[in-house]
Symmetry: C2
Subunit: 454 residues, 2 copies
């Protein structure tokens, strides 16, 4: 039975299994979801066992547990390790979801739910590709699965886990499906990821909220002071103004920039999809460059004072912001984190109290396009999508990818099947059913190509 028929015959079971994972709200950034995290790990273990691994286990870490499974058919054959994550982003604001985030629903041939793409949907495809190869006796590689529960909070425990388990995690290549393609008709493989640094800023003026009539004009306003700090972190041309921020940024060659310019991209479609009036970013770079080869600085959240209905006249005591930077090759997140913290403290006026707290970080990553695994992936996509996938550097960060590179000495291949319209991290996250199926087909094809190339 070929894979297309296998998928067709088993489609409702596949979806029901995926939905059973999605229904568990395994949000890693809220401590209140600890039981869901545990339950989701258990569910994954069970699904991996049913798919045909030799064994699956739940391994403790200093944070959320890791699900590990393995099928070793022959030590002489290459070993493929699949990485995925079973935790998800918070689903707030709930009111913007058309259907509840943790009750998956199929509309217009798409699965709508938190985690439908990122990363329950994408990592589940590997399980089903593997199941097919096992059930039809076509598996010609050893396979390992590593599913973590802290990707969305920066994988704080994975470093230590990998260092302590190098033998268990030994493999020839690592597949990660946690990225997106240019479009369904223009497949692409992500060959670069940006790094990440993240801060929380707290500005305090007085020891309590004050009456803005009685004190307004004589006591500094912490929200205004925070906006003054944040507003000067970028100039009018979209450049980050923090001294030395660009020092280590990789200088991309003219030749590579010419290749980037050839990537199909419709600014009109991009704007229409996002509902924006104009694109806006660093002068002198295209949209694809701004999100691929250039660093970015974004305010992810801000709050302070009265935020309820109507008007309350208050001069608040405190104001807060969450700030993140996306980093490119050669920028080290710890160095950047220090740089930004120092700069913010320096530009803050002396009449306010400013605290900067670093929340998490990740290094950037570049995948070589000459490796066996990359070439096998390229051929697999070409066979299933009918067109050779473009290598492209993307703006997201997957903390574990540079960790694998450093500790396991393996450069992961980022076989993503998502689309930008999947709205990951946003309300109404979704994953098209046809990509769910094509993804499984492509992964099956990868196994065949990889065995051949090796």
């Amino acid at each position: 039975m070929n894979i297309k028929n296998y998928i067709r015959d088993n489609q409702s079971r596949f979806l029901e299994e995926l939905f059973s994972l999605i229904r568990i709200p395994s949000v890693s950034s809220h401590a209140s979801h600890q039981a869901d995290i545990q339950q989701c790990a258990e569910r994954w273990k069970h699904l991996l066992e049913e798919a045909g691994v030799d064994y699956a286990e739940i391994l403790p870490t200093t944070g959320n547990p890791i699900v590990f499974a393995s099928k070793m058919i022959d030590p002489g054959l290459p070993t493929i390790m699949v990485y995925g994550h079973y935790d998800v982003m918070p689903a707030e604001p709930f009111e913007l979801w058309t259907s509840p985030p943790f009750e998956p629903e199929i509309r217009d041939e798409k699965i709508y739910a938190r985690g439908a793409d990122d990363d329950k949907g994408q990592s589940f495809m590997h399980t089903k590709a593997f199941e097919y190869l096992v059930k039809t006796n076509q598996l010609k590689s050893n396979v390992k699965f590593l599913l973590e529960g802290e990707e969305e909070i920066g994988s704080p425990s994975l470093d230590e886990f990998c260092s302590a388990n190098t033998e268990k995690l030994k493999c020839d290549t690592i597949l990660v499906s946690d990225t997106s393609m240019l479009s369904a008709s223009t497949p692409s493989i992500t060959t670069g990821l940006r790094g990440l640094a993240y801060w929380e800023i707290e500005v305090t003026v007085a020891n309590r909220d004050l009456h803005s009539g009685i004190f307004g004009g004589a006591v500094a306003n912490p929200i205004l002071e925070l906006t003054k700090i944040l507003a000067q972190l970028k100039d009018e041309e979209g450049r980050i103004t923090i001294p030395h921020f660009y020092n280590d940024v990789e200088d991309v060659s003219e030749k590579e920039r010419e290749l980037i310019a050839q990537i199909p991209f419709s600014e009109e479609e991009y704007k229409a999809n996002l509902g924006i009036k104009q694109v806006f970013g660093e002068v002198g770079y295209s949209t694809i460059e701004r999100t691929g080869i250039r660093p970015a600085l974004d305010i992810c959240g801000i709050w302070g004072g009265y935020t309820g209905e109507g008007s309350k006249t208050v001069l608040p005591s405190k104001a807060f912001a969450k700030l993140s930077a996306r980093l490119v090759p050669h920028q080290k997140y710890e160095k950047v984190a220090q740089l930004v913290e120092k700069h913010i403290l320096q530009i803050a006026p002396e009449y306010v109290d400013v605290k900067v707290r670093q929340l998490h970080g990740a290094e950037s990553y570049v995948c070589p396009i000459e490796s066996d695994a990359y070439r096998a992936a390229e051929k697999a996509y070409e066979k299933v999508f009918g067109i050779r996938p473009l290598p492209i550097r993307r703006g997201g960060s997957i903390g574990v990818v540079p960790v694998f590179e450093q500790i396991l000495k393996v450069k992961p291949v980022l076989m993503g099947f998502g689309l930008e319209s999947d709205a990951i991290h946003s309300p109404n996250e979704n994953f098209p059913l046809d990509l769910f199926e094509k993804g499984i087909e492509t992964i099956v094809e990868f196994y065949a190509q990889y065995s051949e190339i090796r």
Copy 2:
């Protein structure tokens, strides 16, 4: 029986009656408190009836009802109208209260509760002074009570109510106890109030929250754009930069500024009480001037993006702020409201969508110190506190005060007994018991002095 003894003999009943008002969370800015508003009005009506008015009634308006009561003893005698408000500010953030905001508690000789001062505590003193005069047959004026339920949201219905009821509200003077004194040992009477304008600003970029890795750097960040707008509304020397903002600001004479400079004020105590490192405001003006005779601009609230625990990497779709201005004599709030709205829309970059919504406004007010009522109040304070009260312009706004001036042609006297440390509009609002008692004594004394002067 003199008033001191009357208070002593009835103290526990007085407090229990006041507490019965405080326990009703009559928050006017939350629609969910509509039933509490109604219940609080009923309770006031009952307490006024018990205090000895001829009749009390609850009158509908286009918004929250007004409690009106009257005792007419002789049309030939002057009529005093007492104004107060039975609505309160929201009590959030609840977690900062030592005791629950709507369960009054006495600690260290102070009543702690939302409304303990503003304005249930202060307006209740008038009811008890009136009760004493009635019960001891000393009343020599006609008395009216007007209690509204929308002061904290800018008294939107009072204008129309006053215009439609000029005959019913006819009086010779109006007393308002909704302000504070310099200190318990330095009594003062507020002779000026700042006006108010209030806006909500909404900045939108994309049609949904976006992944900050995939889009960060290529799509404008609405929080950053909002901070850029807000940060430029004031310069480094604390001046408001909105063109024409200061055009109509009253130029206070050197002589008046010299008098202001003589008001006792300890900057060290002020800073210690508020827990601030430095005072900060418009260059060239003292703290008392900055809050009394100069306008102010404050951001009362800001929100956008992810504001929960930990880190979420998101490029938000929208950001919001609440902005307010305190205005001084001759500045018209409608003109300023237009000015600020226009300026914000003008400085917003064209790649974002900005909406400005005006929420409410009030004119500023100046009370003449030569009037009969002011002089009677001055003598009453002097008799009770042992020291002549200072006339002082304060920063707060009481929307109804200029409305009375315009429609009823009566300039209210602001007989406040609060302290800045009462933390009105803040957690742990409180009102000292000794001022509650001295306030009642002073009001009783006012009636005597006013009859004599007239």
